[in-house]
């Protein structure tokens, strides 16, 4: 009997230690997620004591009447497609370069990682200055080099605003993936590289048959993390353009916020959130399954 109670104790200890985190997560992550679904079927202005059940009216509204929703969805998709490719390619290149024995590489790693630790709202402010049509760095540089024809109102032009914001996002996010890639590159076996060289592989062969396969798990993690991050893109856009001009940089996450918090139509805001949630789940669930399978296989 004393043996049984002893073996039960570590388990109970585990639950006790988990409890605070579990409560916080249930309260602030799971409950809101369920509540937002409930809210998306009701009509509430944020002030009245009760909400009315309205069925699918909110969804009908955002899909058929909302002038901004489809633009925000299109922007989110474009943003996501670019954000999982371009910054990660740059990060990968930087990681490969900084993994070589070059002088000053530790300093360079810090430099490239620095933007990651800056608050998005500060990044937004910095880039807003640089993009300023009259006093900003970019237009002044263009003028100095005599490229006056290239001068643009970077954040004020509907056609380029989204891409201007994206460049700032790229600058901010490159360091994060770079660190993940660098960690992955540390795991590439030096002997395997040598074996490949003896087998007759050149630089490309070593990369293709040794480095890349070893980085597969890292690539997957980087891909999914940047996917999730770009789907919920909010802060940097909010800080730089607030969705303008003329909703040309509007995103789903920001539109959900704007509807609920600024326009006071919580039901529609919730419906937009649910759409975003579903898109995220469809993409992320296969990844979570893949991770579990990998864990099982490694056992």
């Amino acid at each position: 009997m004393p043996q049984a109670s002893q073996s039960a104790r570590p388990e109970r200890q585990g639950y006790v230690l988990l409890a605070p985190a579990l409560i916080v997560y249930l309260l602030f992550a799971v409950y809101p997620m369920i509540d937002v679904v409930r809210m998306s079927f009701s009509s509430w202005n944020g002030l009245s004591p009760g909400a009315n059940f309205v069925g699918l009216a909110n969804y009908r509204a955002i899909f058929t009447q909302d002038p901004v929703f489809w633009g925000a969805l299109r922007n989110t998709i474009w943003w996501t497609a670019l954000a999982v490719t371009l910054p990660n390619l740059v990060s990968f290149g930087l990681a490969l370069a900084l993994n070589q024995n070059i002088p000053g590489k530790s300093g360079l790693r810090v430099v490239f990682y620095l933007p990651v630790i800056i608050a998005s709202i500060a990044v937004a402010t910095i880039w807003k200055w640089m993009y300023d049509p009259f006093f900003g760095l970019f237009n002044n540089l263009l003028m100095q080099f005599g490229l006056d024809g290239w001068i643009l109102d970077w954040l004020g032009d509907r056609k380029v605003a989204l891409w201007s914001v994206f460049v700032a996002h790229l600058w901010q996010s490159v360091g994060f993936s770079m660190v993940l890639f660098l960690a992955g590159l540390q795991g590439v076996s030096a002997t395997l590289v040598e074996a490949a060289r003896i087998d007759g592989a050149g630089r490309w062969g070593v990369f293709r048959y040794v480095t890349l396969p070893a980085l597969k798990p890292t690539l997957m993690v980087v891909f999914v993390l940047s996917l999730i991050n770009s789907l919920k893109a909010f802060d940097i856009v909010y800080g730089m353009t607030g969705g303008g001009p003329a909703q040309s940089t509007q995103m789903l996450a920001m539109w959900a916020y704007t509807q609920s918090m600024q326009l006071g139509v919580f039901g529609r805001g919730a419906a937009v959130s649910v759409v975003l949630l579903l898109i995220t789940l469809v993409i992320v669930l296969p990844y979570i399954r893949w991770m579990f399978r990998r864990e099982e296989m490694s056992r």
Binding site: E194, R197, I198, D199, G205, P213, A214
Partner: protein
């Protein structure tokens, strides 16, 4: 298959010299083992032959062609690594055929070569497995198969058996030796295990601190070590070394023996007297008395460590001994089986007359 000539090879990392001019001639088809303690430079030398390390000075030639500045892939060598270094995402067959694939050989040709090598190494049933699904010994065989399919001029082995358990190591030792006899290829093999060196090599190169101490066949090194280092490194248990001194016309080994004088040794010269453990016998009648410290039966023989005056000596007996620590035993030393070394230089002294 080819000869390998290592002449005056030096290696330095910046200002730190780690190899100080090494000369090793290797004949076509010879099985040469580089042996020595950790940090003696044996692996560095092998990696220089492979082209994985640059050569600071001297020359390495394979089949008469200087290879110092050639890429590893252009040297016509194959290497087997200690940790096998198999490509985890490839099957056994793909691993073995990889070099041929890179060389642009046809699929049929690759398949034939891989199957032939798999046959030799009894890997045929495993060709579709991934390395993760193989045992250590099987992985080691795949690594060897990867080398065989290329028909290289020289095989390089870098401590290939170190990660295997004792039983498997003995088995693989025999397999590698059989493989060499079958392929008649030139092999350079690095190990820190002198038993591996003794049992497999045609020729052993004993290295220490970036220098060659002695080159010879296993029995030459065992019977005629050039110096104290080789004498104590080769053979297990190691040779016993006792301090001695030249007196008048004899060499006096404290409490053990008085021996005929050694050529060109002035009276008073300090000398190291070496005798192998199997040349010492337990002899109750002997006036040389020692106290047993440890008794280690191995089954076929018994190793006894005993204290003789202030020295510890080890002897090996074929007989089953019923000894306990603390027992007093008499020891007799085989006459003429000892070796004498200059205590100052460590070099071997030839016995006179």
């Amino acid at each position: 298959m080819a000869s390998v000539d290592i002449s005056g090879v030096k290696k330095a990392y910046g200002a730190v010299a780690v190899m100080h001019g090494v000369d090793i001639p290797i004949r076509d088809g010879e099985f040469v083992i580089l042996v020595g303690p950790s940090g003696c430079g044996k692996s560095t030398l092998l990696r220089m032959v492979a082209g994985l390390e640059t050569v600071t000075g001297g020359e390495i030639a394979i089949d008469g062609r200087r290879v110092n500045d050639l890429e590893p892939k252009d040297r016509d060598i194959a290497m087997v690594f200690q940790n096998y270094a198999l490509y985890p995402q490839m099957t056994v067959a793909q691993n073995m055929g990889f070099a041929l694939e890179l060389a642009g050989r046809s699929k049929a040709e690759i398949k034939a070569e891989v199957e032939k090598a798999a046959e030799i190494l009894s890997l045929t049933a495993l060709l579709d497995r991934k390395p993760a699904q193989l045992s250590g010994g099987q992985r080691q065989r795949v690594a060897m198969g990867r080398a065989i399919v290329r028909h290289p001029k020289v095989f390089l082995f870098d401590e290939p058996l170190s990660n295997l358990d004792a039983k498997l190591r003995v088995k693989m030792r025999a397999e590698i030796k059989a493989l060499h006899q079958r392929l008649k290829s030139t092999i350079i093999y690095v190990t820190h295990d002198q038993i591996e060196a003794m049992t497999m090599a045609d020729k052993i190169v004993v290295m220490k601190d970036g220098r060659v101490e002695q080159i010879g066949t296993p029995l030459e090194l065992y019977d005629n070590p050039a110096n104290l280092f080789v004498a104590t490194f080769m053979g297990s248990p190691a040779m016993n070394i006792l301090p001695a001194i030249v007196q008048d016309a004899t060499v006096l080994v404290a409490g053990v023996a008085t021996l005929p004088i050694v050529a060109e040794a002035a009276p008073g010269t300090k000398i190291a007297y070496g005798i192998r453990p199997d040349e010492i016998a337990i002899d109750p009648a002997s006036p040389v008395k020692a106290e047993v410290i440890v008794v280690e039966p191995t089954g076929s023989e018994t190793h006894v460590t005993a204290r003789l005056a202030e020295h510890e000596i080890t002897l090996v007996s074929k007989a089953r001994l019923t000894l306990a620590p603390g027992d007093a035993i008499g020891l007799s030393f085989s006459p003429d089986k000892h070796q004498l070394f200059d205590a100052a230089t460590g070099n071997r002294l030839a016995a006179a007359g």
